[in-house]
């Protein structure tokens, strides 16, 4: 429910506020107003409506998170399937590579990469995604290893179906459901990571808002103007919570399915 | 009054699919110092009957009875702290999984001694070695220092029996105690249980699906089927001249000397007959 509302709010942002252009960065007349009927979340130091900023910030934050997860799946899953299918030295190389990437404390690698790459939407996605793919490699590999010996794979090999085709047609479908569960859980985590990076000044260049960056700006007016940091933070929390709850119940559903 | 009194015991499992009666009005009377066998197939409710004596029935189980007592303990009071270990102890089918893998045998028995006796550390140590010797474990010192996976299945079962004795229980429930063991080891464990009964006056409730085993150790026997007792009496009498068709079927299904080469009838086939006769 929260997810649907959030997504709808973000997509229809221009229609949900009369301050759309302020949401994108244009300054307004009244600075640092407390929440009122006119500005439900108050205004910031440039007089921009916070509600509009949070809505438009959500566009950036949620799409960064989505793209990070997609990127991680895009790199991780094929590698995992290949590693699991071929085994041997291919498997060794790929899995040792995941070990190396997982040796970094998660946020630290992202900070490092983001600092090197500089600000920008694509760079932010890349910086986080680079540290995230090994998890999907592990999941996909574990799934494929458990399937590799099954008769249908051997039958396909016997009939002369090519390796690529076997992996794409016969093995990939089995990887989808665990990857989906992990992906949902990771959306919550990537939103937090993205927010943390842009809070540290490693996100997008202003004036395009995203949640972490709004909070960073709000720190200058904290704690006197409490609404400035409270509402974007609340938005991050609610969306992350929604993805985590969804992921958790998906995981439970999958577990019971696996037992039956 | 008998030592163990069970009168009209009912156990109903409250499952998601609806209530399921697994023990339907079982009544038993076991005298002190008796070895009482309960025989039946898996799912006949024999284990469930026994676990009610220790309050170890699963959470979904609803237990009711007119009488449920062991010695002076009325088990319907659910004062399990006074019963478990002190009065009734239980040993299980698979000794390997019934022992905690990350504690030594000595530590596990010592925990029970600490709980149920006032002995100090040194006295507990002496008692521990004495118990291990009593259950016929060679080299008690070494066994005490061993982890469960380091000793054989027979030794594990002996260690469990020692643990049951260490609590000072007068009643021992033995749930298929020899099923997981080799035949030779099986005979040794049965002999041990018998000798412990003779030495200590233990009352033993012996659960098994194996009539041969039951006939070796038990004084009395009850035959269970579908949560009910279909026949009960002295072991010799029941096994020599069974009254109930199900008991006959069970007997026919177990191998006897001279039956080599013939096909044993299966109980399932006989049960159809039995079920039909009641219908």
């Amino acid at each position: 429910m929260i997810i649907l509302c959030t997504l709808a709010a973000i997509v229809f942002a221009p229609w949900l506020t009369s301050y759309a252009e302020q949401g994108l960065g244009a300054p307004g007349p009244d600075r640092l107003l407390a929440p009122s009927a006119e500005h439900v979340m108050g205004t910031d130091q440039l007089g921009r409506d916070m509600w509009a900023r949070v809505l438009f910030g959500g566009r950036v934050s949620v799409s960064v998170a989505l793209l990070v997860v997609l990127l991680a799946i895009g790199i991780g899953v094929p590698l995992g399937i290949v590693a699991g299918y071929f085994g041997g030295w291919v498997d060794q190389i790929i899995m040792r590579a995941t070990d190396v990437f997982l040796a970094f404390p998660p946020l630290l690698l992202a900070i490092f990469m983001a600092a090197l790459l500089g600000n920008g939407f694509g760079n932010l996605v890349l910086a986080i995604g680079l540290g995230w793919w090994p998890w999907y490699t592990r999941i996909a590999r574990a799934q494929v290893v458990s399937l590799r010996q099954r008769p249908f794979v051997e039958a396909a090999q016997f009939m002369g179906v090519g390796h690529t085709r076997i992996m794409a047609r016969h093995l990939a479908p089995f990887v989808v459901s665990p990857v989906m569960v992990q992906g949902t859980l990771d959306l919550g985590a990537t939103i937090l990571t993205a927010a943390a990076l842009s809070f540290l000044g490693l996100g997008l260049a202003p004036p395009t808002p995203d949640w972490g960056q709004i909070i960073a700006e709000g720190r200058a007016h904290f704690p006197a103007r409490w609404w400035y940091v409270t509402f974007p933070g609340l938005a991050i929390f609610l969306v992350a919570l929604a993805f985590n709850l969804l992921g958790d119940s998906l995981r439970d559903a999958q577990k019971t399915e696996g037992h039956s | 009054m008998a030592y163990i009194e069970i009168d009209n015991l009912q156990v109903v499992l409250e499952l998601a699919t609806g209530p399921l009666a697994v023990v339907k009005g079982v009544s038993l009377a076991v005298e002190k110092g008796e070895i009482f066998g309960i025989v039946g197939e898996s799912g006949s409710g024999k284990t469930m009957t026994c676990t009610t004596l220790l309050g170890l029935t699963p959470n979904v189980a609803r237990v009711s009875a007119e009488t449920l007592s062991v010695g002076e303990h009325n088990l319907l009071d659910k004062n399990w702290a006074a019963v478990r270990g002190r009065e009734v102890a239980m040993i299980f089918q698979d000794p390997a999984s019934a022992l905690n893998p990350v504690f030594t045998i000595g530590a596990q028995i010592d925990a029970v001694l600490r709980r149920h006796t006032e002995l100090n550390k040194k006295a507990r140590r002496a008692r521990l070695l004495e118990l291990l010797e009593q259950v016929g474990l060679p080299d008690p010192l070494r066994t005490a220092a061993s982890y469960p996976h380091q000793i054989s299945g027979g030794m594990q079962q002996r260690a469990l029996i020692a643990m049951a004795l260490s609590a000072g229980a007068n009643t021992l429930i033995a749930d298929e105690p020899t099923t997981a063991l080799d035949v030779t080891v099986q005979a040794q464990i049965l002999a041990l249980l018998k000798s412990l009964r003779d030495q200590l006056g233990l009352t033993i409730l012996f659960v098994s699906h194996d009539l041969a085993v039951i006939s070796q150790v038990c004084d009395k026997v009850a035959v269970m089927l579908h949560g009910e007792i279909v026949e009960t009496g002295p072991a010799d009498a029941v096994l020599k001249s069974p009254d109930h068709p199900y008991t006959r079927a069970l007997l026919d299904a177990s191998p006897k000397p001279g039956s080599r080469g013939t096909v044993l009838p299966t109980v399932a086939a006989q049960m159809v007959l039995h079920g039909g006769s009641h219908a």
Partner: protein, 339 residues
Amino acid sequence: MGFKVLGKRLLMACVVIFCVSVLTFLATRILPTDPAALYAGPRASTAKIEEARLRLGLDKPLVLQYAQFAGKALTGDFGVSYRTRQPISKDIKKFLPATLELVFIAMLMAVVVGIPLGVLAASKPKGCLDQISRLGAIGMASFPVFWIAMIFQLVFFSWLNWLPLSGQFSRETMLFNPITVVTGFNSIDAILSGNWAALSDVARHLVLPALTLSLYPIALAMRMTRSAMGEVMQEHYITTATAMGLSRREILFRFALKNALPQTITVLGLTFAFSLTGAVLVEVIFAWPGIGSYVTAAILAVDFPVIMAVTLVGTVIYVLVNLLVDLAQASLDPRVALS
């Protein structure tokens, strides 16, 4: 445990650390930013930049550059910060204790609070505490650390005025009861030198950052303990222990927990990783002079050697912690330890 296993794990850790160092090194060289230009400063002339290039050895082949970098890093020499113009190792030595103080408290809280709560939650599956542990873990995993830190400041400083806003100690302590530096850990130093006034001040300043950083580790430890214990409680030996009349407390905290412990202590590795990176954010909010504040300042100044050094040091510490957790796990299980 056999020395062979120990040796193999150590070797693996070394290989991983080597790869990590190559990776971080390559990343700084491949990317389009020119280290020489950064070193020389913003308005430097081309000549100055070339001079810096020679001085940093950036004209040499990559392999040589790496060898030089790695050789120096092994002796603890990470070069000089562009920003502070101080040797980075000296800076790290100065800032690391403050960070570790926070990280250790968070891990300690996870062990002392999280694990027992997890055990209790497992004692009654689907019970009240169990539901709280589940929701708590999910909730804590959804808070942005830096935001909850600010909310704590709002509540405990602005509204209630119970605790100080930020910093490690107040100005009065600095002036009248300065802490003698022994270990670099303020609280320990205060205890060692018997400086009780300073200790209480330090403790008051510690509460909020430590609390912020501990929330997630506690929830995580509780959840992982709960799930490991849930499996163990189904085991036959738990039934045996119950049948022998052992107390519930002894069964839960001694017999079951020891079996669940190998799984539970993986929490330590995870909480360490979380606290280390979470500390970066928490330190910024609470103006805590640790590695996090140091690296954040470096980020803003595009001070690459510092970012790289901190990444490396953080990763090496993390790998070592994971190695310790691995070894502890192996030694806890007699079936593994003795084979």
